[in-house]
Structures are given as C-alpha cells and as structure tokens.
Amino acid sequence: MRTFFTLWKRELAAFFLSPIAYVMLMFFLMVTGCGFYWLVKENLDLARSAQGLMVVIWACMLIVLPILTMRSFAEERKNGTFETLLTAPVRESSVVLAKFAGVLTFFLLMCLPTLLYLLIIRHLAPTTAGQLDPGSVVGGYLIIGLLGAAFIALGLLASALTSNQIIAAISSFSVMSILWFGGLFEPHLSKNPLVRDIGGYLSSALHLMEASRGIFDSRTVILYLTLTFFFLFATIKAVEARR
C-alpha cells in the first residue's frame, strides 16, 4: 500500500514537473470556456441545464486523455527507467494501478475548475423553472468520471504496448473514438437494428445525456467499470509480458 501511494505521488508529480500539466490545463480550460460561451450564445436552453456543461467537458476528453496517458509506459520504456522501476521490489500491478490513479487524479483535478460554471448557470437561470437539479449535476460528473476511468485504462494499455508515445496516443484515440462517436452516428450505423442497438448501448453521448438529466442507469455504470477493469487487467498482463 505504501508502495502504491509512493508511485501514485511520483506519477502525479511527473505531470507537474513537465510542461504537459500546464499546457493541458490551459487547453482544457480554453476549450471548455469557448465551448460554454458558444453554448450560451447559441443555445441558451441547453446551457441552462447541466447537460450543456457535460457535453463541453465530454468533447474535450477525446483529445485530452490520449495525450495524458501516452507517456505513462512508453516514456519509461524509451528512457530505460522501466528497468530500474521493475527491478525494485514492486509488483507490476501496483505500478499499473498507481499510474492509473495518477492520471485519473490529474484528470479530476482538471475538471475541478468547471464547477465554477455551475455558478454561471445558476445566474443564467434565476427563476425556479430552470433551476439546476443537483441530481443531474452529480449524475453528469459521475459519468464523466467513469468514462474518464475507462478511457485512461485504455490509454495505459496502448502506452504499455509500445515505446513510441505518438503510436500510443493515436491508437488509444482510435479506440476511444468508437465509444465517443458510437452513439452520434447511431441512426446511420447500419440498417440492422441489432447493430444500431449495440451502438446505442455503447454511446457515451447518450449515457451522458441521460445521466445529466438526472436519470440513473446502472447498466452504464457497470459497462464503464467493466471496461476499466478489463483494460487495467490487460495492461498488467502487457507489462508482465515484456519478457
């Protein structure tokens, strides 16, 4: 446990010791800021609910998460520090879990400033009719967190499989896109209703919309938790298979 905590701290520190943290924070705040501004201008109704904000954050995740995870293993492999790390008395699983926890913590910290938008939203909707529903805010952030966890685990897997950060980022981006776009193209996906249904079930956009309307669906939670566990398990196996 102490090892995990130490590795987690190191992982988090690595973000802030490199320019990555600051560049990504700036990018994220800039894009969410512009997105939110656009929403207020163009679609005030959507901006007044939690949904608008969630969609703005969700849109950034596809870019932000592959970049945050790409260095995790690929960089250590390239620099050789992978060898010093794994010849210390630490388990592969603690290394993987600590890296996962490190990126997830950073991502959640990154989302923290978006809570300020809630104040703006309240200001936009002073009457009781458009009041923010706490349930929808919690639901929205819950899905953002869960989807983030699954994406990060996927990103780690991609990073563990290569020593090239660009390859790691692009391959995780590609797989994430399926979850990301899946629902958007649902009507055009196929004539076969079964395929369309599957696309709908996997659609993160749809999950987010429902959750940020205050609808809680346990299937969504289970889907993302399963994906996270699966990708983390595969990452541990990939790290062990370096031999």
């Binding site: 190191r10 520190a13 010791l17 050789g80 010093t84 010849t87 008395p89």
Partner: protein, 314 residues
C-alpha cells in the same frame, strides 16, 4: 549468493544466452566480461528478474528470482546499463522516492539517504535536478540508488561506460570501497577495469561462459608458458647453453644491450623458473642485474579465449 542453473534465453529463435550455470559466493567480486553482444546485459537482466528466461533458474540469497521476485529483489541493488534516472526530479527527491518503493523504513529513510549520498560523493548535490547533472554525477546517483536498501548483492552493468578518465577513476574507487561490504557482480568490456577490481572473472562469449577463474590462474591455464626477461653479463653462447640446461626452459633468445650486457628472453613452461635461473647464474658466477616475469594481461587471455571460441565455432 547467486546460483544460476542452465539459464537460457532465446529472443524469437535467436539464442542470446545459452545454457549457462555458475555460482557466486558471498563477498566475492566478480567481473563479467565479454565482447559487445555476448549476452552480458541479458544475463544481468535475468539475474534481476527483469527478463524471464526461456529455461533455467536463478537463485539470489536463497530466493528464486522468478518464483519469489519481490524477496529476491530486496537483496539486489541493480544499476542498469546507461544508468536510467528520472531526469525531472531532484537528487533528494529521487533517492527518497526510490528508498520508499524499496521499503526502507520511514524512520531511517533520511539517515540512509544521507549516508549513501556521502558514500557516493553526492552530499552537496541534493537540491540539483538530475537532468542538469553531468554523466559522472548521474552515474553516482544510480549507484547511490542501488545502495539505498543496503542490498547484499550489487549488480552493476557497465558502471563506467561513457565516462571520461577522471570519472572512471572516481567510479572505480567507489566500487573498490563498496566491494568491502557487498558481493559485487560487475560487467564491463574494459579489461584493465576487471583486472584491477575483480577477484574472479567470468568470460562470456556468444551466450556461453567460456572461462571462470581468477585472473592469475586464467593466465596460467590459458597461456601455459611464461616469459622471463633476464639481464646477464658474460659470453652469450655459454649463458644460452647454461640456461637451456634448466629443464623447464624451452627456448632462449638473446638481445644485445650496451656494456657487455645481454637481455635473454626465456620461454619457460608453466612453473615460474626465476629462482632456478638465479641459482644457475650464482653457481656459474654470472652477473645478473635484472630478472623479470612478464605477466600477460587479461587482454591477451580475452583475445585468446574469444578467438579460440570463434575458430572453434567455425
């Protein structure tokens, strides 16, 4: 301390390490020699459990490296080739981080860190960022890291690679000091280094161990004869026949020096013939001003072994 049995590693059909077995006792200092690509690094990576072997087993301090990796690793201090470090951290931060993941108790952590820093000459560099240190200092940080948990066994993969002569000397002195308290396995392809530091030499070539002995007995065994230089004054013909009468002497060659002195190059069988040459000179009344056994270097042995092996392989 180390027990290696039938260790084999194949990379996609290519055999990098081929069925090697050896043992290292506590307190020994072993030099692991071989040409580039002979399998040194692969072997060391297997000893530390970083790579898994295709076949065979490694035991460190009684723990199987592959069945009980965490216990075994607690006994190993390892510095990989080229000494990878987190360049974005400060020396103190890095060493603290490493001490924590190596399970150094919190109470003694700071004392331990300061003591290895002192051992490695890093006392004043704690606040420096590793990425800004010179190669020699980085090497010291790597060494300090490998010492943090006070391991019984130190495995150093080419600790002096890429350093300038002054730095090499410093690192060597450091290794000398470490050798007093730890079992040491160090790989190198720089021979004088192994000759100076190590009491036993393992030579590996094409994935196989081709020799394992002390540097002196390797000389005796592999080069057989010894070469003795003697400066004697007197009639060369008489002296040559006199010397050839000594039964271990195979051949004598005479080189003329100034002032009636001649230098004789005496090829003799394995035993050291110097005392017999001296006796011979005394009994015949020759003037002898120098008697010297030309020791052949590890370099000769290395070339002899690795070349033999190659011609043998063909």
């Amino acid at each position: 301390m180390i027990k290696v049995q039938n260790l084999t590693k194949q990379f996609s059909g290519q055999t990098a390490v081929d069925d090697i077995s050896f043992e290292v006792k506590r307190g020994e200092i072993i030099g692991f020699l071989g040409p580039n690509g002979a399998g040194k690094t692969t072997t060391m990576r297997m000893l530390t459990g970083f790579l898994h072997p295709t076949r065979g087993s490694v035991e460190i301090a009684g723990y199987d490296v592959f069945k009980n990796p965490l216990e075994a690793r607690r006994h190993i201090g390892y510095m990989p080739e080229s000494c990878p470090l987190y360049l974005d951290m400060r020396v103190d931060e890095y060493l603290t981080f490493r001490a924590q993941i190596k399970g150094v108790p919190r109470r003694t952590l700071k004392a331990r860190r300061d003591s290895v820093k002192e051992q490695c000459g890093l006392t004043d560099t704690g606040r420096r960022i590793i990425g800004q240190l010179s190669k020699g200092y980085r090497q010291r940080v790597g060494l300090a890291d490998s010492l943090l948990h006070d391991p019984d066994l130190l495995i150093l993969d080419e600790p002096t690679a890429g350093l300038d002569p002054n730095q090499i000397r410093e690192v060597r002195e450091l290794i000398h000091r470490l050798a007093e308290r730890h079992t040491l396995l160090l790989s190198t392809h720089i021979l004088p280094e192994a000759e100076m530091a190590c009491r036993r030499i393992l030579i590996i070539n094409r994935g196989r161990i081709v020799a394992s002995d002390s540097s002196e007995s390797l000389q005796k065994r592999l080069l057989g004869d010894s070469l003795i230089l003697a400066d004697i004054q007197g009639d060369p013909a008489e002296i040559q026949t006199g010397l050839l009468h000594i039964d271990t002497v195979d051949s004598v060659e005479c080189i003329e020096l100034e002032g009636g002195w001649n230098q004789y190059r005496i090829d003799s069988a394995a035993v050291d013939a110097r005392s017999r040459i001296f006796d011979c000179a005394v009994s015949k009344g020759w003037k002898l001003r120098e008697l010297h056994l030309e020791s052949r270097s590890l370099e000769d042995i290395f070339v002899a072994i690795t070349n033999d092996d190659e011609t043998g392989a063909k």
